[in-house]
């Protein structure tokens, strides 16, 4: 696969054809023909590689989150994505507010509210860019009401080619 990837690496098409054309026009010795319109080949975009993709789901109802994560795992298995881990926190995160019960005075009488947020996590590994985009689009379109999704993608890339040690100047 890497060999195929290297073949697909971008080589500037124009740079290859122009010299040949220039040589041909010199040898042909004909009247200057208008340059044929060369088809502009768009640069080949290589597929990204994602080492890990982590989904974090937050919701107000743990049953809905469970159903949704079951759906995510099922879809991943159909599309051939490795799911390494799928788990939930045992307890919800509770945000509590203690407010005065009455509009005016009565400090001793208060009322407490809490907002419960349930969490669920799914970790996947080794996805290509197109698979990841397709899968995430499918997942996000079917996100139920009352749920939020956070997707963390860890993409692996090659080191940039310009990060090379400076060449020593030739001694004069």
């Amino acid at each position: 696969m890497n060999a195929i990837r290297s073949i697909w690496r971008l080589t500037p098409v124009r740079g290859v054809t122009i010299p040949n054309y220039a040589i041909r026009s010199l040898s042909a010795n004909t009247t200057a023909l208008p340059h044929a319109v060369e088809p502009v080949v768009p640069p080949v975009e290589l597929d990204k590689l994602y080492k890990r993709v982590e989904l974090e789901m937050r919701g107000i109802d743990p049953a809905v989150l469970l159903s949704y994560s079951w759906f995510c795992v099922a879809a991943a298995s159909h599309l051939g994505i490795e799911v390494t881990k799928s788990w939930a926190l045992r307890k919800a995160e509770k945000e509590r507010h203690t407010l005065l019960k009455c509009v005016h005075i009565y400090k001793k009488h208060k009322v407490q509210y809490e907002i419960r947020t349930y969490f669920r996590f799914i970790h996947m590994q080794r996805l290509t860019g197109s698979t990841c985009d397709t899968y995430l689009e499918y997942i996000e379109r079917n996100l139920p009401e009352g749920c939020a999704l956070k997707v963390t993608k860890i993409e692996c890339q090659k080191l940039p080619e310009h990060l090379v040690p400076p060449k020593k100047e030739s001694e004069e």
Binding site: A74, A75, T131, T134, N142, C156, Q157, P160
Partner: protein, 343 residues
Amino acid sequence: MSILIKRSKSGCFNSACNVKLWRLNSTSADSALKKGEEEEEFRVLDILKKRDKMQRRVVKRTDVQPDRIDRMATNQNWGNVWPGPKTFHPSSVPLPIRQGYVPKGQAPPGKKANAELMKIPNFLHLTPPVIKSQCEALKQFCTEWPNLLNSEESIDKHYPLEIISSDYCHASPSIRNPLARVVILRVKLADLKLDKHSTDKFKRLVGDRYDPKTDLVTITADRCPTKVQNLDYVNYLLTACYHESWNFEDWEKEKTEDDMEYYDWDNNASKRSLIDWYLRIKNESKIMNDEEYKAFDISQIENGAQYKAAVSIYMNEGENPQTVQEYSIAVRKLFGLPQKKLF
């Protein structure tokens, strides 16, 4: 007007009502009726109108269609019945579902007109066969992971740079989430081509972003408003630090022993004290200056090399039982003392 109060039943003990049967002065108009009633029954005054209620029947609405459930086949394609996310509709779902909390002993309420069932998001549009068929249709847009990159080591070897970013999907007044602009770049220092001086300079330039335990440099960028800009910035930072670490400035020559990041035994007081002690033993004590101390060859001193190694490891790696023990062994050998007995 004649008023009659119905005698309460002997079974119910109603303290409020008085068991009285009495007639007020009647008018002459209904005196004829009264005569007829006396023979049959008294007219009963129905305050609670129980008889009317019993007789009234619930009028069935004729415009309501029969339930769709009744016309569903068991082998139908459910994906066609429920194609997308929809509020629960009890007449279209052929399942005997009950939902709701009730005290012990009672059955939960049924599915018809059940607000609890309608409130909760249902996944009836994502049944397993539907998921399967939809994934089959999506497979044409997916690509396979390269077979040769099947281990972590091979991935790290060929693709050492990591770019971490987050995407958010949730209900909100705006589709933008400001947290989505954060980009983190992670790379192992060993994968970058650096020599001794440039690694040290790179670590100093990068500062806290370098973790010596994992040998990872983590550069985070969130100062630009978009992800693409932050990505460019992060790449720029890495390039700038890399090339700057290869530059040797003139003022770097003024690096003193205090600035050194590791302990070099030759430049420190430990060597001097060792040499002084050695010369005092031989009764040749003389005052030397720095260059002579550095130039002194410790191979003349017995176990000097071991002492040098022990002190260097102690100062560089930190104090732990192993380094302290090695130091004690080296010092005892140097002074010719017996080794510590281990119980």
